[in-house]
C-alpha cells in the first residue's frame, strides 16, 4: 500500500512543488494521477522513491516511512520511469539481469528472462539484441518487465505510455491490468486521459502542487472526465 500524508515539498527558491498531498493507493488498485506539466506529479513519485526529501509530511510504502528507512521501503516498490534509456551496450536480457539482481532476484536463468519478455509481447529476436537498437515502445515494455520481475507489491509509473503508438499503449495497459489483478498497488502519473479512463480505479487531478479532485471509477465514468480535466487545465492556464 502507498500512502502520502500531508506530503509537502518546497524548494529553496520558494517554489511550492507539492502542497500537503494526501493520498492512499490500496492493494489491487490502479490510481492515475493527472495534471499539467509541473503540477507536481513527478515530485510525488520522487518523494516516494527518496530521490528528494519532503519539506514536511510522510511518504509510506507498506507502512514504512520512506524518509526514515528508505532501503527497507524500496524493497516493496518497483519503478518505471518515463523515457527509459537503459544500458544501450547491453542486450535486453543483460539489462533485465542486472536490475533483477538489484531487486533481489538473483537466481533467474536465461529462460526465465525470455519467458518474462514473451509475457510482455516482446518479439523473440529482440531478447538478445542490444537495447540501443530498441524502439521506444520496446524499451517501455522492458521497463515494465523490470518491474514485473521484481514482483514488488507497489508499482510507481511516470508517464509510461507517452510516445507509444496505440497498439503498444494498449498492450501496456493490459499488462498493468494483469498486475492490478494480482493485487499490486499501482500509482501511475499520466497525461493520457484515454488510457486512464480505461484502466484506473481511481483518478486524481493535480493542479499547482495540490490534489484538487479525486474520483472513483463509477464517478468519473458518469461524469465526463475529459470535460472536468480540461476545465481544470484551463483554470490552471487562466
Amino acid at each position: 500500500m502507498l500512502q502520502a500524508t500531508d506530503l509537502t515539498k518546497r524548494y529553496e527558491d520558494g517554489l511550492l512543488a507539492l502542497d500537503h498531498l494526501n493520498l492512499e493507493v490500496e492493494e489491487g488498485e490502479i490510481f492515475c494521477l493527472l495534471g499539467a506539466n509541473g503540477a507536481g506529479k513527478t515530485t510525488a513519485i520522487n518523494l516516494f522513491l527518496n530521490f528528494i526529501d519532503p519539506t514536511s509530511g510522510t511518504p509510506l510504502i507498506n507502512g514504512i516511512d520512506v524518509t526514515k528507512d528508505p532501503l527497507e521501503a524500496k524493497k516493496y516498490v518497483s519503478y518505471v520511469s518515463e523515457n527509459v534509456m537503459l544500458y544501450g551496450n547491453f542486450t535486453a536480457r543483460q539489462n533485465l539481469d542486472f536490475f533483477a539482481k538489484l531487486g533481489g532476484k538473483k537466481s533467474l536463468t536465461k529462460e526465465d528472462y525470455h519467458m518474462y519478455m514473451r509475457k510482455v509481447s516482446l518479439p523473440e529476436n529482440s531478447f538478445e539484441m542490444r537495447v540501443k537498437n530498441y524502439s521506444k515502445g520496446m524499451r517501455q515494455k522492458l521497463g515494465i518487465t523490470i518491474a514485473i520481475i521484481k514482483d514488488a507489491q507497489n508499482i510507481l509509473l511516470d508517464e509510461p505510455t507517452s510516445g507509444l503508438d496505440p497498439k503498444a499503449a494498449a498492450e501496456f495497459i493490459k499488462i498493468l491490468a494483469g498486475l492490478r489483478n494480482q493485487g499490486k498497488a499501482i500509482l501511475m502519473c499520466t497525461h493520457d486521459i484515454f488510457r486512464a479512463k480505461e484502466i484506473a480505479d481511481r483518478v486524481g487531478i493535480m493542479k499547482e502542487g495540490r490534489l484538487v479532485m479525486v474520483r472513483t471509477r463509477e464517478e468519473f465514468l458518469e461524469d465526463n472526465l475529459e470535460r472536468i480535466y480540461l476545465e481544470y487545465m484551463q483554470e490552471a492556464v487562466a
Binding site: 513527478t42 520522487n46 522513491l49 527518496n50 530521490f51 528528494i52 528508505p70 532501503l71 527497507e72 521501503a73 524500496k74 524493497k75 516498490v77 518497483s78 519503478y79 520511469s81 523515457n83 527509459v84 534509456m85 537503459l86 544500458y87 544501450g88 551496450n89 547491453f90 543483460q94 542486472f98 536490475f99 539482481k101 538489484l102 531487486g103 533481489g104 523490470i146 521484481k150 510507481l156
Partner: protein
C-alpha cells in the same frame, strides 16, 4: 549486490568502443615506448663500450704527462638500465665529461645537442605515455560515471531499489577501475616481459624492485585522474560539462603548471649564469698562475747555477721546487674554486628545490620526479655524477702534476711515456635503493593524498547527488 554492480560496470565498459580504442592505443604506445627505450639503451651501451675503448687507446697514445694533463681524457656515464622506462634528463644533459687540468668539469655530448629532431618535441618514453596519454584516458573512462547514468535514466532505476548509495558508488568505482587498469596493466606486463628477453638488458634484483615501485607510481598517478573524473562526474549534472571541466583541469595541471613552476622558481630565486661562475674561476686561475710565476722568478734569482758543476744539483732542486709550487698553486685554486662552487651549487639547489616544490602542485610533476628518482635518471643523479667528476679531477690533477714534475728531464729531448698503471680510476656508485626511495616518498605521498581527497569528494558528492 556490490558484486553485481561491479560486474555490470565491468561488462558495460568492456563492451564499449572506447575500451577497445583505449586498449589498442595503450598497447601500441606502451610497446612502442618500451621498444624504443630498449633500443636507445642498447645503442647507448654500445657507444659506452666503444668510447671506453677509444678513450683507453687515446690514453695509451699520449706521448708525455704534459699532454696527458692538458688534453685529458673523457669519462662516460654508464647508461642506466632503467632509462628504458624513464628517460629523465639523460638526453638533455649529456653523457660524457672531459677530465683535464685545464677544464672545469661539466657534462657534454647530449643527444639533444646533436639530434635536434628529438629536442623539438621531446621524448616518448613510457613515463610520458603514462603522464600524458593514460591520464587523459582515465578521464575519458570516468567523466560520465555518474552524470552519464543520470542522463541515461539508469541511475534512478537502480536507486529505486534497496541499494544504498555508498554501495553504488563503491561498486562503480571498483568496476570502472578494473576496466581501466586492464588495458594499461596488460601492455605494461608485456613490456616487462620484453625487457627480460633482450640480452643486453640486465636487470638485477634491485632493478626489479625499482621497476615495481615505478609501476606502483604509475598506477597511483592514473588513479588520481580516475578519482578526479569520478569526483567531477558526481558534481555535474551533464556529462558534457563534466568532460570539459576535466579537460581544462588536465591541460592546466598536466601541461601548464609544471612549466610555469619552473619559470616562477627562476624569478623568485635567480642563480648566476654559468659564464659568471666560469669567469670567477678563470680569475682565480690567473691569480694562482701569476703567484706561481712570481715565486718561480724569485726562486730562480736566488738559486741560479753559477758554475757548470752546480748545474746537476740545480736540476734536482729545480724539479723539487716545481713540484712543490705546482702543488701549492693547485691547492690554492682548489680552495678558492671550492668556495665559488659550493656557493653556486647552493643557489642552484635552492632554485631547483623551489621549482620542484611549486610544480608538485601538479601530480604530473610528482610522477616525473618520483619516477626519475627511482630510475636514477633524474637531476639528483646527474648532480652526483658531476660532483664525482669534480672530485676525481682534483685527484687526477694532483697525480698527474706529481708525475709531470718527477719526470721532467731538463735539457733533453726525451719524452717520458706516461705509466698508467697507478693512475687513479674514476669510480661512481649509482644511488642505492633506500636513498632513491626516500627521495620519492613525498611524491608517493602527494599522489596518495590526492586519490584519497578526490575519492572522498566523489563519495560525499554522490550521497547528495540529484538523481532525477
Amino acid at each position: 549486490m556490490l558484486r553485481d554492480i561491479i560486474f555490470k560496470e565491468l561488462l558495460d565498459t568492456i563492451s564499449s568502443l572506447k575500451f577497445v580504442f583505449t586498449f589498442l592505443l595503450c598497447t601500441v604506445l606502451v610497446l612502442l615506448a618500451v621498444f624504443t627505450g630498449i633500443n636507445n639503451y642498447r645503442a647507448e651501451l654500445r657507444e659506452y663500450h666503444a668510447s671506453v675503448a677509444l678513450n683507453r687507446s687515446n690514453l695509451e697514445s699520449q706521448p708525455n704527462y704534459m699532454t696527458l694533463a692538458g688534453y685529458g681524457f673523457t669519462v662516460t656515464k654508464t647508461p642506466q638500465v632503467l632509462s628504458t622506462i624513464v628517460t629523465g634528463v639523460q638526453n638533455a644533459v649529456g653523457k660524457s665529461a672531459k677530465v683535464s687540468t685545464n677544464i672545469d668539469p661539466g657534462l657534454g655530448d647530449s643527444k639533444y645537442s646533436s639530434s635536434p629532431a628529438f629536442a623539438i618535441f621531446g621524448e616518448l618514453d613510457l613515463t610520458f605515455i603514462v603522464r600524458i596519454v593514460l591520464s587523459l584516458l582515465a578521464i575519458l573512462f570516468t567523466f560520465d560515471a555518474i552524470s552519464g547514468e543520470k542522463e541515461q535514466g539508469t541511475l534512478k532505476l537502480a536507486l529505486a531499489n534497496s541499494l544504498p548509495r555508498d554501495r553504488l558508488i563503491l561498486g562503480k568505482a571498483i568496476g570502472s577501475f578494473i576496466s581501466l587498469i586492464l588495458p594499461l596493466v596488460i601492455p605494461l606486463i608485456i613490456a616487462l616481459l620484453i625487457l627480460t628477453i633482450y640480452p643486453d638488458v640486465n636487470l638485477l634484483r634491485e632493478d626489479w624492485l625499482r621497476i615495481g615501485l615505478i609501476f606502483l607510481m604509475f598506477i597511483l598517478y592514473i588513479s588520481v585522474f580516475f578519482t578526479l573524473g569520478l569526483f567531477v562526474s558526481a558534481r555535474t549534472l551533464r556529462s558534457s560539462t563534466s568532460l570539459l571541466v576535466l579537460l581544462m583541469v588536465w591541460v592546466t595541471f598536466v601541461t601548464i603548471i609544471p612549466k610555469a613552476a619552473v619559470i616562477t622558481a627562476g624569478v623568485i630565486s635567480p642563480v648566476p649564469s654559468a659564464q659568471e661562475i666560469a669567469a670567477q674561476k678563470d680569475a682565480v686561475k690567473q691569480e694562482a698562475y701569476m703567484g706561481y710565476q712570481q715565486s718561480l722568478n724569485e726562486w730562480m734569482e736566488q738559486n741560479r747555477p753559477k758554475t757548470p758543476e752546480e748545474g746537476k744539483a740545480f736540476q734536482e732542486k729545480f724539479k723539487e721546487f716545481l713540484e712543490q709550487s705546482q702543488k701549492e698553486m693547485l691547492a690554492y685554486q682548489e680552495e678558492k674554486n671550492a668556495t665559488i662552487e659550493t656557493g653556486y651549487q647552493a643557489r642552484k639547489k635552492k632554485q631547483e628545490g623551489l621549482a620542484f616544490n611549486i610544480s608538485r602542485l601538479s601530480p604530473a610533476s610528482s610522477l616525473m620526479f618520483g619516477a626519475m628518482s627511482l630510475s636514477r635518471t633524474g637531476i639528483n643523479e646527474n648532480d652526483r655524477f658531476v660532483q664525482s667528476i669534480r672530485s676525481y679531477t682534483s685527484v687526477f690533477a694532483s697525480w698527474v702534476n706529481v708525475k709531470m714534475m718527477r719526470n721532467l728531464k731538463l735539457g733533453s729531448v726525451e719524452q717520458v711515456k706516461p705509466d698508467l698503471s697507478d693512475m687513479p680510476q674514476h669510480e661512481f656508485k649509482p644511488e642505492n635503493l633506500k636513498s632513491s626511495l626516500v627521495r620519492a616518498i613525498p611524491d608517493f605521498t602527494i599522489l596518495s593524498l590526492l586519490i584519497i581527497l578526490f575519492f572522498t569528494g566523489a563519495f560525499v558528492s554522490f550521497l547528495k547527488y540529484d538523481v532525477r
